[in-house]
């Protein structure tokens, strides 16, 4: 009986034409964006059916950054000759300059996430950053990572095959995975291995020999420090025939083609997207169906994402609250929920690092493991600390009006009204607390929440500190 009821519910929920409920709109935005959409964003979606709400979210996706990056961020790296003429003091300055640019780069992306009209774009770019990882720590020159970030924007909902081809010649990637040192006489396997293990097939679907042979095929694509570009150097390329996954290949492009032909590539990618957007426990049959869909669509990401976001499993009640919020969700999402858009990007970058997600500096080539690993005793207490400060209005530049800022996200009784700071210190009532729960949490709170005898601010603080706020 319970199952039948669930089935009917799912059919109704997935059926196009029905307008989204408040909870559904919130869920869609929370999962595609940063975990805790503002009331304004939710209400904007209420007029749409499930299908057209997804289209609406896709419609906002933009290839160009929303905010203006620092103008000198993509300046070319000074040539080696130029750097060698520097004296010690100038070298110190150069290093300091690089560090400052690195922080500026991080601050720019955090700021972009906070300001954008399309959190979904940023979520996809972040997904690609975590898939095709590169780190500032190794690459050093921030301009290259900025360029890579623009590449992810160009292909955010584009074609995976194209992105894969581009990434093999991306300067940040070439420097990050030592393709730089991949020469005919002595191939370097780093890129070839991660290409198969992380970017396409996944562990267990290739042999050591495939790695060695693929590394040979990619020889010759080296970074040229003079131009700051990745160029093909025929003298360093091994032109012989190599065997990768049982097929004869010559070039890196051939290897990419063989990898795209392999069914495991689509399965690997689809599973990763499922874990990011749907639930921690993918359904094998659905994965297979989606992988086929991805291949049938020649690796176009948009139809795949549409299929993912309209899956019954995406909307299933038991999957609500099944994903742990990332540090980006906690930091950016909470600020967006509160309508605070003016926080300094550098401050955000430091916060993100403390919470375990230092953008442009993933812990290793596998990226952030995510899921439950986001929450350790340390990061949980840091999350609580940040949320406590936010609720108290103490987390911004100078005087921070906190919950009362701008459009009031918690405009509880009358959405069109903008309560002042003093309003938030007025007494809560059961109705206003119920509204806050629906806005702030994906699932009911774990701890009992007082509904009377406390201020609205105190009620918001309770919900922020409830374990349920940590999931989406």
């Amino acid at each position: 009986m319970k199952r039948l009821f669930l089935l009917i519910f799912l059919l109704l929920a997935a059926r196009p034409g029905f307008a989204l409920t408040f909870d559904e709109a919130r869920h869609l935005l929370a999962r595609t964006g940063f975990g805790s959409p503002s009331r304004f964003e939710i209400e904007r979606l209420l007029q749409y059916s499930h299908d057209s709400a997804v289209e609406e979210i896709f419609g906002f996706v933009i290839a160009r950054p929303f905010t203006q990056p620092l103008s000198d961020l993509d300046q070319p790296l000074p040539g080696r000759a130029e750097r060698q003429t520097l004296n010690d003091a100038e070298k110190m300055d150069f290093r300091k300059d690089i560090n400052e640019r690195g922080l500026a780069l991080k601050a720019w992306w955090w700021g972009e996430m906070l300001a954008t009209d399309s959190p979904f774009t940023e979520h996809m770019v972040l997904f690609w950053h975590n898939h095709f990882t590169s780190s500032l720590q190794k690459v050093k020159w921030p301009g290259f990572l900025y360029r890579q970030n623009l590449l992810f924007r160009d292909h955010a909902l584009g074609n995976f095959g194209d992105l894969l081809k581009e990434i093999t010649h991306d300067p940040a990637m070439v420097l990050y995975l030592d393709s730089q040192a991949n020469r005919k006489s002595r191939p370097n396997e780093n890129f070839a291995r991660e290409l198969m293990e992380l970017f396409t097939l996944g562990e267990g679907h290739f042999t050591e020999r495939d790695v060695k042979e693929a590394a040979r095929a990619f020889t010759g694509w080296n970074f040229d420090p003079r131009s700051g570009e990745v160029v093909f150097n025929a003298r360093q390329h091994d032109p012989g025939i190599k065997q990768v996954l049982g097929q004869n290949v010559r070039t890196g492009e051939d290897v990419v083609r063989v990898l795209l032909e392999h069914p495991q590539t689509a399965r690997h990618l689809v599973k990763k997207l499922w874990l990011e957007f749907v639930s921690p426990e993918p359904d094998e049959a659905e994965l297979q169906r989606l992988a086929t869909l991805l291949r049938d669509n020649n690796y176009e990401i948009r139809p795949l994402m549409k299929a993912l976001l309209t899956l019954p499993a995406f909307w299933a009640p038991e999957n609500k609250g099944s994903l742990v919020k990332s540090p980006v969700d906690i930091a950016v999402g909470s600020l967006r929920l509160l309508g605070i858009k003016n926080m300094d990007g550098k401050r955000l970058a430091h916060l993100g690092k403390a919470l375990g997600q230092d953008l442009f500096d993933p812990p290793n080539v596998k990226g952030w493991p995510g899921g439950q690993a986001w929450i350790t005793s340390t990061t949980l207490s840091r999350r609580e600390q940040l949320l406590r400060r936010l609720a108290r209005g103490r987390e911004s530049d100078g005087a921070d009006p906190g919950l009362g800022a701008g459009y009031n996200p918690l405009a509880l009784d009358n959405p069109s009204a903008m309560p002042s700071l003093a309003d938030l210190d007025r007494e809560a009532n059961p109705r206003s607390v119920a509204t806050m729960k629906r806005l702030m949490l994906a699932i009911p709170p774990v701890d009992p929440v007082a509904e009377t005898g406390i201020s609205l601010r105190r009620a918001a603080l309770q919900l922020f500190l409830d374990p349920a706020y940590q999931v989406k």
Binding site: N319, S381, D447, P448
Partner: protein, 395 residues
């Protein structure tokens, strides 16, 4: 551990006695919780061949035309093996015979993926089997573990800084992660309520948050900054994340907090390119950190109650690459230190004349290393099928 009985399952089924009867004597002594194992993970795969150096082997210089440490720079410990010069701070420990060097640790059919290989080390599985439970979680018999939350054992495992909790996962060990300063808990304890179920089915994600919070609240009563701040520490710890984590570990122990395990990390040792300088710096920090740690504990009589072990996902290729670096390899030596350690070399150095595909062949399985720690340090049964390495610890 999926699909097979874990040691703990056997114990829980009352088969512990039968199990221990098959193993000699150990496991009958009461488990020892008055001591701490300090696990140091060398992230990224440490180059064993340039750590413990077969300086007398002509093949060494041949395989490492640019990276070989010159014979006269190597710290000679025996007629054929020596240490990287950056490890000089460990010489007093060696001379006191409190440093043992375990040679040629690895596992059959080595995997060269960082992630898979560290998972194998963390779960003590075979190369082709995936186990869900970390080896420490599997071996420490939680019914006999001291309850977490006391002054001495606020938790079973303390992870310092950004270090993987892999060896402790899957069981019921209380694992608390602190930042490198040994802090991170002062903010907890404000929220009331222990995370009771609110009439709803919790997702695993939510359960994890609730459990972590409960652990924080419990530990927060013990690991308070004031308690740590009272400890007077001498200088000598190296700058950098590793040095500060080692200093915090010493501070925690001196404050009377002795969890069964403290874990921290050092690295990255993933030296694919221009290895020499990076490796020297990392080894230097390692040696200085270890030496300072010993000094700090010696003064307070705690050195006998601590065992320090290193491990890493793999060593590196015997032959250097064309980028002045080394690629992912296989077997490597590891260090074991403490007041109860018997110093010296143990096991056999993998001969360079018998490398397979430019890789060293293991001479000891790392799981025998774990069994030794289980049986001779904690006095609990080791990993079935892996006889403890004999020598470094008195049984």
């Amino acid at each position: 551990m999926t699909g097979s009985f874990s040691r703990r399952d056997l114990l829980a089924l009352g088969l512990g006695a039968a199990g221990t009867a098959l193993l000699p004597k150990i496991g009958r002594a009461a488990p020892a919780w008055d001591r701490t194992l300090v696990m140091i993970e060398l992230n990224g795969g440490n180059d064993g061949l340039n750590t413990v150096i077969p300086y007398d082997d002509p093949l060494y210089a041949k395989l490492r035309p640019r990276l070989a440490i010159p014979r006269d720079k190597v710290i000679h410990l025996s007629h054929d093996l020596g240490l990287h010069p950056a490890l000089a701070p460990l010489m007093p420990v060696w001379k006191e015979q409190e440093l043992s060097i375990l040679l040629g640790l690895g596992y059959p059919r080595p995997n060269r993926s960082h992630f898979r290989s560290i998972e194998i080390w963390e779960t003590a599985s075979d190369a082709d089997k995936v186990a869900g439970e970390g080896w420490v979680a599997d071996l420490l018999p939680e019914p006999r573990l001291p309850p977490a939350g006391s002054a001495q054992h606020p938790t079973h495992v303390l992870v310092l800084g950004n270090s993987s909790p892999g060896p402790f996962e899957g069981g019921n060990l209380a694992v608390v992660t602190l930042d490198r300063q040994g802090l991170g808990l002062k903010q907890t304890g404000m929220v009331g309520g222990g995370g009771q179920k609110n009439g709803q089915d919790h997702t695993k994600a939510l359960d994890h948050v609730v459990a972590t919070r409960a652990l924080n609240l419990k530990a927060a009563h013990q690991i308070v900054p004031e308690r740590l701040a009272q400890v007077k520490m001498q200088a000598g710890f190296p700058d950098g994340p590793f040095g500060s984590a080692m200093e915090s570990a010493a501070r925690l122990l001196l404050a009377g907090i002795l969890p069964p395990v403290i874990k921290l990390s050092h690295g990255s040792f993933d030296t694919h390119a221009n290895q020499a300088g990076t490796h020297e710096k990392l080894l230097g920090e390692l040696a200085q950190g270890l030496a300072a740690f010993r000094q700090a504990l010696l003064g307070k009589g705690l050195w006998d109650r601590v065992l320090v072990m290193t491990y890493s996902e793999f060593g590196r290729r015997a032959q250097e690459n064309a980028s002045h670096g080394t690629d992912h390899g296989t077997a490597a030596p590891h260090l074991l230190m403490g007041g109860k350690v018997r110093g010296g070399f143990f096991g056999a150095q993998p001969p360079l004349s018998q490398i397979a595909d430019n890789d060293l062949i293991l001479t000891s399985d790392f799981r025998s290393y774990y069994s030794m720690i289980a049986e001779q340090w904690w006095h609990v049964p080791g990993l079935p099928g892996f006889k403890p390495l004999s020598g470094p610890l008195a049984a």
